[in-house]
Amino acid sequence: MITHQSDLILSLDFTTSDTRLMGGQVSQSSAVVTVVPTASTTPLSAKTVIRPLVFFTILDHFLRRNENQDRVIGTLLGRLSDDHSSIEITNCFPVPHFESDDRVEVDMEHHSTMIDLYQRVNPNEAVVGWYATGSNLNSYSALIQDYYNREVSSGQSVHLVLDTELNENSLGVRTFISSPVGSLTKPENCMFVPVPFTVKYNESEITGLDVINQAAQNEADGTAGLVSDMDALEAALLKVKEMLQRVAQYVDQVVAGQVPGNNVVGRYIMDMLTATPKLDSAAFEQMFHSHLQDVLMVVYLSDLTRTQLNIAERLQRLV
């Protein structure tokens, strides 16, 4: 069923009966929640971790799609966690493809060129699967999945679906892995098994997302400027204050007997209170003052240096 046309384009043709078969399976599989163990040699990865950049790239790709094209696909890059328990998706790139009623073409030359290029920048990223936009899996998904299964080193590719039509008023992100179905293993026969995913951020990404979130909340034009050191500190302090107030209010309510106390919350609050180091006030004062002097000294010296530089600059003008 799969023919390689001049090694460039993976062309997939199939008959209507297959389509119907697939359609049935797809709707079936969406009901399957438990992970179906497969006979494959590698342990089944049952979890995916997605970096926010992946969503950003997919959405950008979707906005730049061709006319009359209602869904886009692309390759997911990432790595398998050391214990093979989860797959981390760190990056992705678009792959042009073409769908019609009876065939789907994926530009495999583009795919392999991009992999080469990406690996030169980050050799740790390997192909882990593919993404598509749209509200549901369709009949071509199995065929593309079959191709990616062979591309992925572990033999288990992840399929990420993002609903850009916003049915159910959400992006409806879902991830799947596939398992073969039927006694005869045919590429177009497979079952998509939903797997749980988490979105993971690291510190620097959070700072970026913070600003982007501000931009998202700006209704007028969706833009935001950058904040200064002081503003960032102020915002963080205000947030801490708000959180403290929330906790204080909760504690007050528990004490007053309005709300039943939660042991877990209580233990957390205890931990937090004991975490504050108890220092002798005189010793603290001394520490505080010496530190303050250090900082002020450094600031003074750096300002002095700048002034000297400026004087030197001006003197040179006179020469």
Binding site: I9, F56, D60, R64, N66, E67, V95, F98, D107, H110, T113, L117, R120, V121, N122, L171, V173, P196, F197, V199, E203, S204, E205, I206, T207, G208, L209, N213, A215, A216, G222, G225, V227, S228, D229, M230, A232, L233, A235, A236, L237, V240, M243, R246, Y250, V259, N262, V264, V265, F284, F288, L292, V295, V298, V299, S302, D303, T305, R306, E313
Partner: protein
């Protein structure tokens, strides 16, 4: 597949038409601000994080509309240490071709770089910027500050070389004379452009989704939501968490590092200063010799005329100077860059000290 024309939906076409009307084909208007898509921000953060050892560099793609430069996409460049310039050039060509196939703006508008303490004052970077700006009049360089990122703050700044400096750089003469005549100093080598970050409407949806409670909650998340359900206030989310890095209390490491950079910078500055002084002394000495020579020659001529002999041929200034080896002036650019670097470090330090002091006083109040 290659026949796929880069057509866009009719709605986007319309907006493109209005953009095209505003397009400044002759590149006359200078750009005054930079607008970055959120995608670019995330890409730069990722790339910079992954190559913490070296500096991360890459290309920016987009287009300019009126006086704003829209940066809509970016891609990382392979590290220059491992690949030859030819390979990198080929990489850029291949990448651009691939991106064109998926309708990304394939219009280079500059480059990005990660740096510590926002310092891009070195000869290599300036050269890169010059080359970009020579070929693309509106090119900018985005600088992502790694040291600020570790303090929980996003710092992306857009820089351009000033037109005056472009002229001087094109001539390649960095003497005191040119610097004084054009009024260049470390302060006006670069100009900074204001940066805004822009989200597409799809991204707004995504961010909205991020702000909602996640379906899979960790124990802490459970705790928070139970705490909040009791309160029936705003829902917790990934983004609702406070910027803990901004509250970091171990302030010394960052300051130490900054001070070390200042010392390094000052050392370099002093080397340049010594070179300059050495040159000045040498130059003055030679100049004196020239004057003596000219004076002697004039006297000789006067004597010859008095004795009725034909005077020696007049010599031009260049001819005289050619007889002596006047030392070459060291590049004032290197000096200006060193100055700029130290200046920048000092500025960073004093900027950093503001929050530092406030945090210290906050801790003091806490202890009371």
């Amino acid at each position: 597949m290659t026949t796929l024309a880069a057509t866009l939906s009719s709605q986007e076409n319309k907006s493109l038409a209005s953009i095209a009307a505003n397009l400044d084909v002759e590149m006359k208007n200078p750009i005054t601000s930079v607008q970055i898509e959120a995608l670019v921000v995330m890409k730069i953060i990722k790339h910079s994080r992954e190559s913490l050892s070296g500096t991360a560099t890459g290309q920016l793609l987009g287009m300019d509309v009126d006086d704003t430069l829209n940066i809509s996409s970016a891609y990382p460049a392979p590290p220059a240490s491992t690949e030859s310039p030819e390979e990198i050039a080929q990489y850029h060509t291949d990448m651009m071709q691939c991106l064109r196939e998926v309708n990304v703006d394939n219009n280079t508008v500059g480059c990005y770089q990660s740096a510590h303490f926002n310092t891009i004052m070195d000869a290599a970077t300036i050269d890169t910027m010059y080359n970009y700006q020579k070929n693309l009049k509106k090119a900018v360089m985005l600088v992502y500050d790694l040291s600020r990122a570790t303090r929980g703050q996003l710092s992306l700044r857009a820089y351009r070389l000033t037109p005056e400096f472009m002229e001087v750089y094109a001539k390649g003469k960095f003497t005191t004379q040119t610097f004084t005549l054009t009024g260049l100093s470390h302060k006006n080598l670069l100009e900074e452009l204001p940066v805004v970050i822009h989200n597409s409407s799809m991204l707004k949806v995504l961010m909205q989704e991020f702000s909602e409670p996640s379906p899979i909650v960790d124990p802490l998340g459970h705790l928070e939501s139970s705490l909040l359900s009791a309160q029936s206030t705003a829902a917790p989310s990934h983004l609702d968490s406070i910027n803990t890095q901004a509250l970091e209390l171990s302030l010394d490491p960052a300051m130490e590092k900054n001070l070390e950079s200042i010392l390094d910078g000052l050392e370099k500055y002093n080397t340049h200063r010594h070179q300059y002084q050495y040159w000045q002394r040498g130059y003055a000495r030679e100049q004196q010799k020239i004057q003596q020579y000219v004076h002697r020659r004039r006297m000789e001529n006067a004597q010859r005329v008095a004795a009725g002999q034909t005077p020696l041929a007049e010599e031009t200034e260049e001819q005289v100077e050619a007889k002596f080896n006047l030392p070459k002036e060291p590049s004032r650019l290197a000096h200006a860059l060193a100055t700029g670097k130290v200046d920048n470090y000092c500025k960073e330090l004093s900027q950093y000290s503001g929050p530092t002091l406030s945090k210290m006083f906050a801790v003091r109040e806490l202890q009371k």
